[in-house]
């Protein structure tokens, strides 16, 4: 069975251009008055955090669409977004640690937002593990859709954790009711980086959904070659003596 759809190249080009644009903008913007050059970590840390949120919100949306439409393409989109989201959540944790060491003096602290983000990472690893517990595409899609809808409840808790509990992580600077307390050049560069990382996420989604479709095709092809299993493989004995 040869896959009918050809692979697409444009997502790789989008990723390369968006990655390069972010790098150039982040390295040329003037440094922050307080954190100086360390503030440049902001332009990868915040976009990665935004995409951790956005990816899991899309997983919830696609999961709900699957339960409504029962179309496996929504299940593949939900899974692709969850996997890319896990990658971005791992990245935001790593970047947070790299930023924490020179500013807080420690690699890790049990701050509410940091700890809840680590829990989010492991919960979505659990989502990906759950998908490996069955070979039935429909059972897998239904189980993971329910998981994908309920797991997203963590995101508002993580976002508001810096307001609800006192910790080392700073309160929101951009996404808050009052106007941002940031210099215009820094805000614009940050928004530019967020837009570029969102383009990287969308491009990665296209490739990951393509892979998921191929994996499903392969699974169905392998299952069609299998012989009958268990009771289906045993014929009833002929007790008529051949007459």
């Amino acid at each position: 069975m040869e896959s009918e759809q050809k692979t697409t190249v444009w997502p790789w080009i989008v990723m390369a251009i968006a990655g390069l644009q972010t790098f150039v903008a982040a390295m040329t913007v003037p440094p922050d008055a307080v954190q100086q050059e360390l503030s440049r970590i902001l332009y990868v840390h915040v976009p990665a955090a935004w995409l951790a949120y956005a990816a899991f919100l899309f997983t919830m949306f696609a999961s709900a669409m699957y339960l409504w439409r029962r179309d496996l393409k929504w299940d593949r989109r939900a899974m692709a977004s969850a996997e890319v989201g896990v990658m971005f959540t791992g990245l935001v944790l790593a970047l947070g640690m790299i930023w924490a060491k020179p500013t807080w003096g420690v690699w890790w602290t049990w701050d509410a937002r940091v700890t809840l983000t680590a829990i989010l990472f492991f919960v979505y690893l659990g989502y990906l593990a759950l998908r490996r517990t069955t070979d039935s595409l429909d059972v897998r899609a239904k189980r993971s859709a329910i998981f994908g809808i309920f797991a997203v409840v963590q995101i508002p808790v993580i976002h508001f954790s810096v307001v609800w509990w006192r910790g080392l992580h700073q309160a929101p600077s951009l996404l808050k009711p009052e106007s941002p307390e940031m210099d215009t050049a820094i805000v614009l560069t940050l928004l530019f980086a967020v837009a570029n990382f969102t383009a990287i996420y969308i491009a990665m989604m296209f490739k990951r959904v393509e892979l998921a479709r191929l994996e499903d095709e392969l699974l169905l092809a392998q299952q069609s070659h299998m012989g009958p299993v268990a009771g289906e493989g045993i014929a009833a004995p002929d007790l008529t003596g051949g007459s």
């Binding site: 692979t7 440049r40 990868v44 970047l95 490739k207 191929l214 392969l218």
Partner: protein, 43 residues
Amino acid sequence: MPIAEQWNWVIFAYGVTYFTLVVYGASVAMRITRVRKKLDSES
């Protein structure tokens, strides 16, 4: 903290970011190639 040391942390952070993105992208590309080959052999 001296400016040169601050740049070391910045380079470290960007190195980790782009390394992660490239490795993940490469893993997806390799898995696509492998699954396509398996699908061809199934035909």
